[in-house]
C-alpha cells in the first residue's frame, strides 16, 4: 500500500538519462537472436545447415580438391589410378585462356588489347572513385575520348603504324567488354535524352520517343540484333555498311537505351513538383533546371535500377553470338569442342569459368552501387 501512494503522476525530481539495457552479449547472443529465436526459426536454420552440408562438399571436391590445375592435353583430365574421378579441368582453361580473352586477335598485337583494358580500367576507376579529382574530365575521357581512341587503336590505323585488325578477328572477353561498355556508355545519355523527350511539351518529340521506346521494348534483343545485321545492309549500300561488330553494337546500344529511358523516367517522376517550381522561380532556363536540379535527383533515386539495367545488359551481350560474333561465351563454346581436350569434365569447366567471370563482373557492379547508395544517403544527412 505504501508503494502505491509513493507513485505519483507528476515528477518532483528530474529524470536523469540511464544507459540502455545491456545487450545479450557476444556471438552466442547474436546466434540466439538471429538463428534460434523460435521453433520455426530453429527448423529453418537446421534445414539450411543440412542443405549446405549436402551441397558444399561435392562442389568443393569438384572445383578445388580434385580439380586438375595443369596439363597439356586431355590426358591430364581423364580418370587415372591416382585420380579415379577427376574434378574440373582448369588446365583446359589455362591453355585456352589467351583465346578466351583475345579471340583471334593476332598474338603479336595482344599488347594493344592489354593497353585498352588498362585505359578502360583507369576510366572506370576515375569515375567510380567518388572523391577522385576532376571527375568532370574523367567523364569526358570515359564517354568521348576513350571510345573513339579505343576503336582506332584496336581496329588499327596503318597511317599510325598500327596494323589493321578486322573486327571479325576480335573475340572473347575483349568483345564482351567492348559490347557491354558501348552499351553502357551510349545507353545512359541516350536513355536520359529519350526520357526527357518522352516528357516533352512538343507532341512530335514525345511521339517519336514513345514510338521508339515502345517499339524497341516490344521486340526481343535477338530480333534487334538480326535486324541490325541482316536488314541494315539491305537499305545501306554495301561500301557504306558498317562492319558486323559495329552493327551489333548499334543494335545493343539502341536496345539498352530504350530500357534506360524507362528507368530514368521513373526517376524523373520521383522528383517533386516543388523542385521544378523552385528552379523556375529562380529564373533557371529549362535545360539548366534539368541538368542542375532535376536530373541529379532523378538519377540518384533511380541508381539501383540503372545498375540493374547495366547488369542485365552485361549478361545480354552473350546474345551477339547469334549474329556470328565471338563473344566470351562463344569462345568457350568453340574451345570445348576441341578434340585435344575432349573429356567428360571439359564442358562443365568451361561453363563454370564463364559463370565465374560474369558473376565477378555483375557482383562487382552491384556492390559498387550499394556503396554509392549508402554514401549518398549519408551525405544528405550531414
Amino acid at each position: 500500500m505504501t508503494a502505491m501512494t509513493e507513485r505519483t503522476y507528476l515528477r518532483t525530481v528530474p529524470a536523469d538519462p540511464l544507459p540502455p539495457p545491456e545487450q545479450r552479449a557476444g556471438r552466442i547472443g547474436w546466434l540466439r537472436e538471429n538463428l534460434f529465436s523460435s521453433p520455426g526459426n530453429i527448423a529453418l536454420t537446421l534445414i539450411c545447415i543440412l542443405f549446405i552440408a549436402w551441397a558444399l562438399p561435392p562442389l568443393l571436391r569438384f572445383f578445388v580438391f580434385d580439380a586438375v590445375w595443369s596439363g597439356s592435353d586431355r590426358q591430364a583430365c581423364l580418370s587415372s589410378p591416382q585420380l579415379p574421378e577427376p574434378g574440373a579441368c582448369w588446365a583446359f582453361v589455362r591453355v585456352w585462356f589467351s583465346y578466351f580473352v583475345y579471340g583471334f586477335y593476332p598474338i603479336a598485337q595482344h599488347w594493344r588489347v592489354d593497353v585498352f583494358f588498362l585505359a578502360l580500367a583507369c576510366g572506370i576507376g576515375w569515375l567510380a572513385w567518388l572523391s577522385a579529382p576532376r571527375r568532370g574530365i574523367g567523364a569526358v575521357y570515359f564517354f568521348i575520348v576513350l571510345p573513339v581512341l579505343s576503336y582506332v587503336f584496336l581496329r588499327g590505323a596503318p597511317t599510325l603504324g598500327l596494323a589493321e585488325v578486322p573486327t571479325a578477328l576480335w573475340g572473347g572477353i575483349l568483345v564482351t567488354i567492348v559490347v557491354a561498355t558501348v552499351g553502357i556508355v551510349v545507353s545512359l545519355p541516350l536513355g536520359i535524352l529519350l526520357a526527357l523527350a518522352r516528357r516533352s511539351d512538343i507532341p512530335v518529340v514525345r511521339l517519336f520517343a514513345v514510338t521508339f521506346i515502345e517499339f524497341v521494348r516490344g521486340v526481343p534483343l535477338i530480333t534487334v540484333l538480326f535486324m541490325a545485321s541482316v536488314m541494315l545492309p539491305l537499305f545501306v549500300p554495301e561500301r557504306l555498311s558498317p562492319d558486323k561488330l559495329v552493327r551489333a553494337l548499334i543494335g545493343v546500344a539502341l536496345f539498352a537505351s530504350a530500357y534506360m529511358a524507362e528507368v530514368v523516367r521513373g526517376g524523373l517522376a520521383a522528383v517533386p513538383r516543388g523542385q521544378y517550381e523552385a528552379a523556375q522561380a529562380l529564373g533557371l532556363p529549362h535545360w539548366r533546371m534539368m541538368a542542375l536540379i532535376v536530373l541529379p535527383q532523378a538519377l540518384r533515386v533511380t541508381l539501383p535500377n540503372i545498375v540493374n539495367t547495366f547488369i542485365g545488359l552485361f549478361k545480354d551481350t552473350t546474345l551477339v553470338f547469334i549474329v556470328g560474333i565471338f563473344d566470351f561465351l562463344r569462345t568457350i563454346e568453340a574451345a570445348r569442342a576441341d578434340p585435344h581436350w575432349a573429356t567428360p569434365v571439359t564442358s562443365a569447366t568451361g561453363y563454370a569459368f564463364a559463370a565465374l567471370f560474369y558473376f565477378i563482373c555483375c557482383y562487382g557492379m552491384s556492390r559498387y552501387a550499394r556503396r554509392v547508395e549508402t554514401r549518398l544517403a549519408r551525405a544528405h544527412r550531414r
Binding site: E277, A278, Q280, L282, G283, L292, A379
Partner: protein
C-alpha cells in the same frame, strides 16, 4: 502600358520609379471547368507590402503564382516591373529574375548544400563568378542569421531554418519583388516567429512584398493593404486597421471571426 513595354524584357533598364511593381488587369483562370480566378484587378505600388488572406481554395496561391508565371491564365494581363508576361520565354525569365519566391514547403534543393542552394541562381542565371556569389550568399545567410549552417545539407536543418535559407536563396537574386506563399503554414509553432521576424526585417527594408498568409499579427504589423480573397475573387481590400476593425463584407467578417477567435 502600350506595346512599347513589350520591347523591354530587361527590367533594370526600365523606368522603375513611376510604374507600379505589379499590375493585374481582368485576370481569369480556369482549372478545367473550375473558375479559380475571376476578374482579378490589382495594382501593387513599389515598396508596397500586401498580405492576401482568405479561406483555402479561394485562389490566393494561384494568384500569387501568376505573378511569376508558375501558373498560366486564359484571360487578362499581368505586368511585372514593366514587363508584360506573355508566352515569350524571354519575358518570363526576365520577370522571374526580378521576382523572388518563398514556398510553403521551402522547396530547397536537397542534393545541394545551403550555400550551393543560394549561389546556384546567381552563378547560372546572373553569371556571377563563384567567389562573388559565395560572398553574396554568405551576406544574406548572415542576414537571416544562419551563416554557420552554410556547409550543411538542407535535411539537417529545422523547418524554420530551412525557410530562412529559402528566403536567403531568393534574396541572392536581388529581386525587386518578393512573393511569399504561406511561408509559415508548414512550420512547427515555435519556429513561426523566427521566420516572421526575418520577413518583418525585410519589409522594413522597403522591398515590394506580396504575402499569402493567415498570420494576422504579421498583417497588422507590416501590411500596407490586406486583401481578402474568396471564391476566386478579391472580396475586400483595405488598410489593416480598417480591415480588422470594420470589415465590410459578410464573408470577411465570418473569416476573421474564425481566424482571430
Amino acid at each position: 502600358m502600350g506595346p512599347a513595354m513589350e520591347n523591354r524584357p530587361d527590367a533594370s533598364q526600365a523606368d522603375t520609379s513611376a510604374e507600379p511593381a505589379v499590375e493585374i488587369v481582368g485576370l481569369h483562370k480556369w482549372y478545367g471547368d473550375f473558375h479559380v480566378l475571376r476578374d482579378i484587378n490589382l495594382t501593387v505600388a513599389r515598396g508596397e507590402r500586401i498580405v492576401i488572406c482568405g479561406p483555402s481554395g479561394g485562389g490566393k496561391s494561384t494568384l500569387l503564382r501568376c505573378i511569376n508565371r508558375l501558373e498560366n491564365w486564359q484571360r487578362g494581363r499581368v505586368v511585372v516591373d514593366g514587363i508584360e508576361l506573355t508566352d515569350d520565354p524571354k519575358h518570363i525569365v526576365a520577370v522571374r529574375r526580378d521576382v523572388g519566391m518563398v514556398f510553403q514547403h521551402f522547396n530547397l534543393f536537397p542534393h545541394l548544400t545551403v550555400l550551393e542552394n543560394c549561389t546556384l541562381a546567381p552563378i547560372w542565371v546572373r553569371h556571377m563568378p563563384k567567389k562573388d556569389a559565395e560572398a553574396l550568399a554568405m551576406r544574406y545567410l548572415t542576414r537571416v542569421k544562419i551563416p554557420e549552417q552554410a556547409q550543411k545539407y538542407p535535411a539537417r536543418l529545422s523547418g524554420g531554418q530551412q525557410q530562412r535559407v529559402a528566403i536567403a536563396r531568393a534574396l541572392c537574386m536581388s529581386p525587386n519583388i518578393m512573393l511569399f506563399d504561406e511561408p509559415t503554414s508548414a512550420l512547427d509553432p515555435e519556429m513561426v516567429k523566427e521566420v516572421l521576424d526575418t520577413m518583418v526585417e525585410l519589409a522594413n527594408d522597403g522591398i515590394t512584398m506580396l504575402v499569402v498568409s493567415h498570420e494576422m499579427g504579421f498583417a497588422r504589423e507590416v501590411a500596407d493593404r490586406v486583401i481578402f480573397m474568396a471564391d476566386g475573387q478579391i472580396v475586400e481590400v483595405n488598410e489593416p486597421k480598417t480591415f480588422f476593425a470594420q470589415p465590410r463584407h459578410e464573408r470577411t467578417k465570418l473569416f476573421l471571426q474564425q481566424v482571430l477567435r
